[in-house]
């Protein structure tokens, strides 16, 4: 079932259904699978560095240790920012009203890469976005978290989208700031993907 967000703009409150734009559902997908010599499907396990123990898919658990070596429960942890100031946990955006007060330029939007995209259904909000010269921006939390992501409302061909992004940290460079490129190994990427016919 589609989930809904509440937006507030110019004294008006607008409810809007959102649906994830899933690339697999637009273009299909490629899965890479491994088979042994008898044609049985294989999966990745792990082997210890001494070669003495083999572990399956769910053999490990993540834990947290204090500086004295004692184990900590998740509930005993707090999240702090770079200045060591504790961060409050912020509610999921579905439980709040998103105030559309800020806008950014196209260049500021292009300083981000998209982590996920949602299609929004709301003729009222679409009109507001179409009427704005700049791009509405706000912070979005799919679930409650300490660090919401920047999100943007984009209109394309009469359809409304929410792009959830990540800042890239690009900066202007000058002649003196010369890079000495150290060629990275051309390592395999694990992502397998299908080509698509955009053009």
């Amino acid at each position: 079932m589609a989930r809904s967000l509440q937006f507030a703009i110019g004294g008006q409150q607008i409810e809007c259904e959102i649906e994830k734009v899933d690339r697999d559902k637009l273009y299909g997908r490629v899965e890479k699978k491994a088979f042994d010599k008898d044609g049985n499907e294989c999966y990745f396990g792990s082997i210890s560095s001494d070669g003495m123990n083999i572990f399956g898919k769910e053999s490990f658990e993540q834990g947290y240790m204090a500086q004295d070596g004692s184990w900590l429960e998740r509930s005993q942890l707090q999240v702090v920012d770079m200045d060591d100031e504790p961060l409050p946990k912020q509610e999921a955006s579905f439980k709040t009203v998103i105030e559309l007060m800020d806008t950014v330029t196209i260049e500021e939007y292009l300083n981000h890469v998209a982590k996920s995209v949602y299609h929004l259904t709301s003729p009222e909000l679409l009109k507001q976005v179409q009427a704005s010269e700049d791009i509405f921006s706000f912070y979005f939390n799919y679930t409650a978290s300490y660090t919401p992501d920047p999100a943007f409302l984009i209109e394309n061909e009469g359809e409304l989208f929410m792009v959830v992004g990540q800042h890239c940290g690009f900066e202007f460079v000058e002649a003196q700031a010369v890079e000495s490129p150290i060629l990275e190994d051309d390592e395999d990427e694990d992502d397998d993907d299908i080509d698509f016919s955009m053009f």
Binding site: R23, V30, S46, F60, V80, H119, E179, E187, D191
Partner: protein, 235 residues
Amino acid sequence: MKVINIADGKARNSRVAMESKKRPKFTRYTDSQNQGVESARIVKNTLATDLKTLTKETSLEDLSQKLIDGDPELDIELFGKRIFDTSRIYLNSNNEPAGGVNLKELIYSPEGELKEQRDAKTVEGNINTEVPLKWSGKLMPKSECYKKFVFSNAYQIKHVDGLTFDFLFNMAKELDEQNAMMFLGAGKKNNEPLIISRNGKQFRAFLEGRVQDSKFMLILHLTNLEMKPVPVAEQ
């Protein structure tokens, strides 16, 4: 830092630097005394003590009794032990190390139906080959381009010496003046998608340039998704 072989509008090319600089979120966990904590990977079980092995010759009902009578699910030596370095290994459906592994690609339609199965091939990256990435001449206004495509990755292209500063600065200036993004393709006909790393995803690419006084910013935006809703029948 990666290297990209790129040509400008006059078909002059150079190998320059390219970096992804996604800004991480500056957060960390601390304990109640504001002291830093360390995350650790610990062993829960091994192949000898996981459910599949334990139920190989015993029914679930009989295993329940064995769990009451003893601790067959625990490896006393390893349970709770912190583990650092491990390597990946292929296991078959019987949880045994697999030999003669063959990788296959299974291609599914948007409806989720298996369309094709083929042997997986290694695909090399194509951004730093003999053939430079050329300007296609296909310019799209920025105001249109950002709406049409979802850019899921981006790299900043940087100079490696004084000559390449001028080379890239002029490219950025030209694009900035036109307020447009240039479609960039790989291959001899510069119409192939870009592959950044070996066996990496295929991306369509657009080059964006900005200039501020004597400084520039040249960004390679990568996309493999159009900004369009999933058709209702396919949702």
